[in-house]
Amino acid sequence: MSNIKKYILTAVTLGLIAASGALLIAGANMITRERIAQNEKESVNKGIAKIFNDGQIGQDFEVDDEIKGYYPDVKYSKHVYEIVKSNGGDNPSTYLEGLAIQTTGSNNYGKVSLIIGFTKDCVYKGLSVISNEQSFASTLKKGYLDEIKDGDKTIDDVSVSCGATYGAKLVRAMVEEAKELTRILTMTDKGANNG
């Protein structure tokens, strides 16, 4: 009988500690949620600005079931931003410069979130790391994949030995998917609204 009482007391104590912890975390989540979302948005905007220096963000949309209908294998791409440029002068109209695709992927070593930019002709513009939980912020060598910018090389030609092979392979897969998605979206109405 005393053993049962002891077991119950032990379970209740541990349960209470866990419940208090959960409540604290829930409270902290309520306080920080908006701020974290705002920070993420800012870092996405910064990332896009880094890739498309003078472009502006036009429409943006989630990679939803409609897009998945065109590209069922889509795995990493989460959000698409259309990058538009002004026609200049007094002309208020804009034209589509390219797409910036927010991608998130993970492997055994953690998660990586990137913004990958392609021009409307599917030429790689660059990528920007939004968050990197794989290692001490060094998964990618500076300028990794830059050699495919000129179009001399394809993604397949690029060496994956860029500091952390696993991270690089994941990034390469994300870039490949983003390229395919750009190709599909620029061919369909969805990505060519401003074209």
């Binding site: 002891k6 007391l9 032990t10 104590t13 541990l14 500690i17 866990a18 208090s20 912890g21 604290l24 975390i25 902290a28 989540n29 306080i31 920080t32 701020r35 974290i36 920070n39 870092s43 953690g110 968050s131 990197n132 939980e133 794989q134 290692s135 001490f136 912020a137």
Partner: protein, 246 residues
């Protein structure tokens, strides 16, 4: 009162010098090697680590009579994990650059042996006040230790220091007088091992010298005492001979 103050000070200082978790106990080396690329990152890591250590030590000490022997370790892990999650969320919200720089190493505080070690070895057996002072001392000691490593690594690896990159609330300032002579390896993991090894070697050298000095002094003292005893025996013998002659 003065005795109490002295005890508290001793309790606080032991974490910084005599029982420094990094340089004496060699605990928490993984984040110490990974987050000491820059002084700012080290300060940030030390700050977050100290908060987790203080909060978990206080709570463990408060609940020490309620937590039974059988569930001690899981209970401590839950408590530490809760505080690490809170710290992670607040860092993500209010110090996003620090959050992205430290990356996975914030989460890894959960498994840092210093935090669990202090909860198990100290907070679970002592009062809240003593646990708070101990945690503060250990936290400050760890922060100072990783800051020392970061000073060497950043200076040798970049040729100077930069501020305001991670703590964006202060203006960005760079002082890089030896940028041309920067040795890249000190910014890499190998550099962290080299710096850590050199610091440990220097500390061991100082400790050994102190021990040698102490041993030499003790030997001298022993010799002095033996000589004194010899002299006293000779004097006593002379006195006895003199007494016999009389």
């Amino acid at each position: 009162m003065a005795k109490e103050k002295g005890k508290n000070m001793k309790n606080f200082l032991k974490g910084i010098i005599a029982e420094n978790p990094l340089f004496v106990s060699i605990l928490g080396t993984c984040p110490a090697l990974a987050t000491t690329k820059s002084l700012e990152a080290a300060i940030g890591m030390g700050f977050l680590f100290t908060i987790v250590l203080i909060c978990s030590s206080i709570l463990v000490s408060l609940l020490r009579k309620l937590i039974s022997e059988e569930i001690r370790t899981p209970a401590y892990i839950v408590i530490i994990a809760t505080f690490v999650t809170l710290v992670k969320m607040f860092a993500n919200a209010f110090l996003p650059e620090l959050y992205s720089t430290l990356g996975v190493f914030i989460s890894l505080i959960v498994v840092n042996c210093i935090v669990l070690g202090r909860a198990e070895a100290y907070a679970s057996k002592n009062t809240v006040k003593d646990s708070l002072i101990d945690a503060l001392g250990m936290g400050v000691g760890y922060t100072l230790a990783i800051m020392l490593m970061a000073i060497f690594r950043e200076f040798l690896g970049t040729g100077g220091f930069s501020f305001g990159v991670i703590f964006t609330f202060i203006p960005e300032v760079s002082w890089l007088p030896l940028e041309k002579f920067a040795i890249n390896i000190f910014q890499m993991p190998a550099g962290a091992f080299i710096v850590f090894g050199i610091i440990l070697a220097v500390l061991a050298f100082i400790k050994n010298r102190k021990a040698e000095k102490k041993a030499a002094l003790e030997k001298l003292e022993k010799q002095r005492k033996a000589e004194e005893a010899k002299k006293a025996a000779a004097a006593a013998q002379a006195q006895a001979v003199e007494g016999g002659n009389k």
